[in-house]
């Protein structure tokens, strides 16, 4: 948790200082910061897509905090598969981060995937990239 905060250059004490988190913020412990959560969601999605998967959009809805010793469980549902006007292939996912069966964060993800063996979403620029 501390490594994640520092890796995202988030120096705020509630992510590394137990006394500050508990006695100033009134939380039960230090907690996972949002940019590091984003990194966890990215890793989860691209572990599935492989390196040609290109994130287009992520929308976060924070519902609760993640604390040290929590076991994070990620699950996802494919909500839509489409091809846009430029020929780019898209998958819409709803990814959920839960602890002990309780949802902590929902993340809607739109990720581009190749539509053919020689397709590469990363090659798209300008008007050809409509995230």
């Amino acid at each position: 948790m501390v490594l994640g905060a520092l890796a995202t250059r988030d120096w705020r004490p509630m992510h590394h200082d137990y006394d500050f988190a508990v006695n100033r913020n009134g939380t039960q412990d230090i907690f996972l910061n949002t940019p590091n959560q984003a990194a966890w969601f990215e890793r989860y999605v691209t572990d599935w897509t492989g390196p040609k998967g290109r994130l287009g959009r992520m929308k976060f809805r924070m519902k609760g905090s993640v604390y040290p010793k929590d076991r994070m469980v990620f699950t996802a549902t494919v909500e839509d598969v489409s091809t846009d006007d430029t020929g780019c292939g898209w998958v819409s996912l709803l990814v959920t981060l839960a602890v002990d069966g309780v949802t902590k964060t929902d993340c809607s993800v739109r990720v581009a995937l190749p539509t053919a063996p020689d397709d590469n979403p990363w090659a798209r620029r300008g008007d050809q990239w409509q995230p």
Partner: protein
């Protein structure tokens, strides 16, 4: 259901209405995107995507090394300390401006969306600018009474290419008397 953040037919103070859609607080990051931080970030979440670890894969797929897209805001976070700094810069200044303009002491962020455009590459120096998109009329929620607003933070690289947009929905409020 109507959009709670809509500005339609909302009577806003002139100083707030005047800045809707206007670029504000354009700032340039303190340091370039760099490979070491990319590896530190990937390591923190055990992200083994070869795009970030294997130069040959990066050359083939992304025409050279790039940063994980979700590191977008990392390249703009100020150092914890810097010589000569006398006060800490507030991120998302427009948000604090609105709290002051409407005299709303509390605020929460209810949604955060990130849209990714051109990839960030090692050596890139990013510039950000904030844009107030909308302010709602008075609303009452379980937190209290206040207003919703939507603020975009646009990130551009040194070639003025858009690399991403973060969009925040905030709710500034005053707790209702018990």
């Amino acid at each position: 259901m109507s959009d709670p953040t809509s500005t339609d037919a909302v009577d806003l103070p002139p100083e707030v209405a005047a800045v809707i859609g206007q670029y504000q607080y354009t700032e340039t990051g303190e340091f370039p995107a760099e490979q070491g931080y990319i590896w530190t970030s990937c390591s923190s979440v055990e992200n083994g995507n070869p795009l970030f670890w294997d130069a040959d894969v990066a050359a083939e797929i992304t025409d050279g090394p790039i940063a994980p897209p979700t590191m977008l805001s990392v390249w703009f976070r100020p150092h914890n300390w810097a010589p000569g700094r006398t006060e800490q810069a507030l991120p998302l200044q427009v948000h604090f401006d609105l709290k002051a303009a409407f005299d709303l002491p509390e605020a929460v962020m209810t949604d955060n969306t990130i849209v990714f455009h051109e990839p960030v590459r090692p050596g890139d120096v990013l510039t950000t600018r904030q844009v107030l998109r909308s302010v709602s009329g008075p609303k009452t929620t379980k937190l209290g009474t206040g207003r919703f607003w939507v603020i975009d933070v646009e990130y551009l690289n040194q070639r003025d290419e858009l690399v991403g947009v973060e969009s925040y929905t905030g709710f500034g409020y005053r707790r209702d008397a018990a």
